[in-house]
Symmetry: C2
Subunit: 599 residues, 2 copies
Amino acid sequence: MIKERLEKLRAVMEREGIDAYLILTQDFHGSEYVGDFFKCRKYMSGFTGSAGSLVVMKDMAGLWTDGRYFLQAEQELKNTGVTLFKMQEEGVPKLSEFLADKLADGAKLGFDGRAVNFKTAQNLNRVFEKKQKKITLVYDMDLVGEIWENRPALAAEPVMLLDLSCTGKSRADKLSDVRAAMEGKKADYFVLSSLDDIAWLLNIRGGDVACNPVVLSYLVMTMDSAILFINEQTLKDQVRQALAADGVAFAPYNAVYDFVKQIPDGKSLYVDEKKTNYAVMMNRGEGVKLLTGDNFTLLPKCIKNKTEVDNERMVHIRDGVAVTKLIYWLKKNIGKTQMTELSVADKFEELRRQQEHYMGPSFEPIVGYAEHGAIIHYSATEESNVELKPSGLVLMDTGGQYLEGTTDITRTVALGELTQEEKEAFTLVLRGNLNLAGAKFKSGICGANLDYLARFPMWERGLDYNHGTGHGVGCFLNVHEGPVSFHWRVREQERTTYTELVEGMVVSDEPGLYFEGKFGIRTENLIVCKKAEKTEYGQFMEFETLTIVPIDLEAVLPEKMSERERELLNTYHSKVYENIAPHLSDDEAAWLKEATRAI
Amino acid sequence: MIKERLEKLRAVMEREGIDAYLILTQDFHGSEYVGDFFKCRKYMSGFTGSAGSLVVMKDMAGLWTDGRYFLQAEQELKNTGVTLFKMQEEGVPKLSEFLADKLADGAKLGFDGRAVNFKTAQNLNRVFEKKQKKITLVYDMDLVGEIWENRPALAAEPVMLLDLSCTGKSRADKLSDVRAAMEGKKADYFVLSSLDDIAWLLNIRGGDVACNPVVLSYLVMTMDSAILFINEQTLKDQVRQALAADGVAFAPYNAVYDFVKQIPDGKSLYVDEKKTNYAVMMNRGEGVKLLTGDNFTLLPKCIKNKTEVDNERMVHIRDGVAVTKLIYWLKKNIGKTQMTELSVADKFEELRRQQEHYMGPSFEPIVGYAEHGAIIHYSATEESNVELKPSGLVLMDTGGQYLEGTTDITRTVALGELTQEEKEAFTLVLRGNLNLAGAKFKSGICGANLDYLARFPMWERGLDYNHGTGHGVGCFLNVHEGPVSFHWRVREQERTTYTELVEGMVVSDEPGLYFEGKFGIRTENLIVCKKAEKTEYGQFMEFETLTIVPIDLEAVLPEKMSERERELLNTYHSKVYENIAPHLSDDEAAWLKEATRAI
């Protein structure tokens, strides 16, 4: 089947005079998750992993993927004629170098420029130039689309409006802020491609990307117009009218490419080149003055306003009730009722669905029992699914979308007697979590300045976790939202770790420890940055913990914590009891009382 | 007198067709301190402060300086005809803007391009361009030199060779490393202007800048030659022969400018433009390919080798003996013997001079009693000098140059009963100092990741100190040495706070608290970065404290410290007693025993 598809692709490649065709795993908007319509690489290779790049040439087809997927790719590529290139392995060329070496001078490399990020294509050009190969990028084609029979349709979920009581700021005010920023940069046109930015700016939500309540669209703004390029069938009259009332006009989704071509010479075009695809960038005329920088929506979206923060607090009580009930259910039923990783994930969904304004999961739930907890990106499948037993730890990283906010919480829960090793590791992770949330700092500080607080309990013992300490979180939007984050790394080209922490930024605080083949631990809360006192030394800042769910005291060694750390935990647990107990049954509340006792 | 000098300068300006003449406070090498030869601004204006820029035009003369010097400048500029421009005050133009506004199109701005940093001059050009003024920079002149009667001679202290037992690496090996780096950058020529880099690279020391044991010179390297531009009278035969044996040739100090002019077209020239003066940069021919980046010596100089670190340990015992004796003397004699800030500074010098291989102070000593301790850059003068009394705190920040290393230590000492406020502040500062020195961290971490550790005790109480937490320190070289440092600020253009901490880097750890009109506290040790264990999670790092001098327990509130902080202090004090007591008299040792008791 794959072989046939490759032959068909080669036929259209030949017709178009294309020597190599490149198929990545991106949608047109650089989204973290992509819809079925965009899964060209999977269709053409049979490889189903979440990361991989396919090159098809006359005499070969090759798939590049990383260590997480070597085994899976080997199996899935069997008898397809597609060669596996194991990234980072010794002697395996990078995709760009492979192309530079293999293609002849003057060759043509084709790809769908809408599904390739500008920076990625630029990097190809850089490598070709370095290797002194003249290779033309032909980006104005979708050859897979031509041969793909029964290609899934583009997602076209109905668009909903978000009320001012959810957004805290009207669409008109947001548009006006963007125009003020455009004026500051002398930008005549502003093209916005990233879907969460568009949803935030227009106070709309949709369901076009799994777990991300966004709408497939592009937005182009000038000082007196705003055109939303969108499948108009997704717009009910009421939505259309509300947008139109704020000066938003509509055009077909793919018409944005012709629009960009027609921007007059001499005008200036502002884009965030990190978040824009190659086709949008290259379609501009040579006489158009290009201005680049962060999207004007990036920081305003990240800095939640008072309404949003108040809503987040409310949502986290609802979510906290669901998760607390789940932990109670786990503790009471483990060993009595049969439960598996998948059934626990279902139980999360069931309990969250009982909460007001629950809209669905904010990402694919992770429920990893025992050694599965040590696999950081684990997500149970029918094949990997195991039964939970009354011993050891289960790591549960889940989250919900609510009309008023987004949650993301990890709790690791003892299902029976734990070993000293498990308790020690749990306590280290907890200490990291508490110390970061308990930080008090000066205005101007960024995530890189504070990351040490979450890691030092591990570092003191020669341990570490191989992921960031925290990521920004959207408000009824993407659960991974830049630019704020916690990581110690400061790189010149990555602004995320030196984005100043500002009142209203919501970030996760999620240190962990992972022991392969044994168990994994992560404790994750969302925290929001707030102003503390202002003194003659400046404005001081602190965090408030939004997530309100007990931390399993059965896994804690109080004697391994400092007095301050115990105080931080006890204060947190008082708050949990106070906010969650009123929403529980008597049995649950009695259990919670004990589960949140001072230590 | 000043008026006459200005008239003379205007006469030569007119002769040269110069409309404005600019006089900064820099030597030819961007040194932190400048010798008397370079004090043109003081000669021309009468203003003696350490920072200030003078502009002389036909009808005006203006001096720009900052808030520290407003009072002093007003007094010193009286009746000179020089107008004071108070920097940062509202309505006061910046020097560059003043020039751009006041000079006519086509005007000529003159200055000694050797005494103006390249970046400074570039900034002038940028402002002129922005204001659309065509102003020519004429940098090939020293008009003050022409009219300066009895100008002090350029420093010409004898050059000494440093033995391999001091440097741990031969000159030949260092030169060979630089050439390898040049090869990596395809650099045909490398011009090195910063004096500590030259001294380090050639294993020489001198005395041409106060407190910095450097030699006025430039070094130009090619793949097979090295030319030292220097006053050859400072080279004894033995020194000359040793340098020549490693392929170093000599040329007159100022001949470097003609040399740069003669670099052939098509050749590449590598310089650190942040550390090079305008004349060197502009003298290159247009056909010379300019390569810029950090000096090749920057990191190797900062990362001390095993010999250097071992020597630093030894030197810090000697220095610790001197400072411990001083504290003993203070404690025993306060209220009995008359002592002033200046006499205490003299006592430091007297006690250090008794130590082996002491070469002089590493910076001007700061001894600030009571409210003088709150003035961060305080240095007692005959006018400000006060008597020390048996009450309150004295802050003493001093350091020494030894043949094998450089010290920099601050101790704040109780001279009598302290208030609770003083003790609380002292304890906060101590906690910051201990926590930073006690850090354990992963390889890759930089100063910005750790700064929080020194500040959080203050930040938790809405307090702060308005200076960096630490700076790199040379080895028998400059007491302020880049690029390593501790500060929370991460700026794209300042690499100092994201220089990775590497084994062998010596940095100061000096949090403080300053209460204007009352008292100031700072506790400063030098710490050296070392490898700790390597685990499956990576290479871990820690600090060893080099400075070995007791911290005044009479100012400490043990109950305000965590258990770990008390442990860190007790461990430190054990080490102090063990290393210092053997070098003390019986009385001193008995006192030290008590002064380093566990708390």
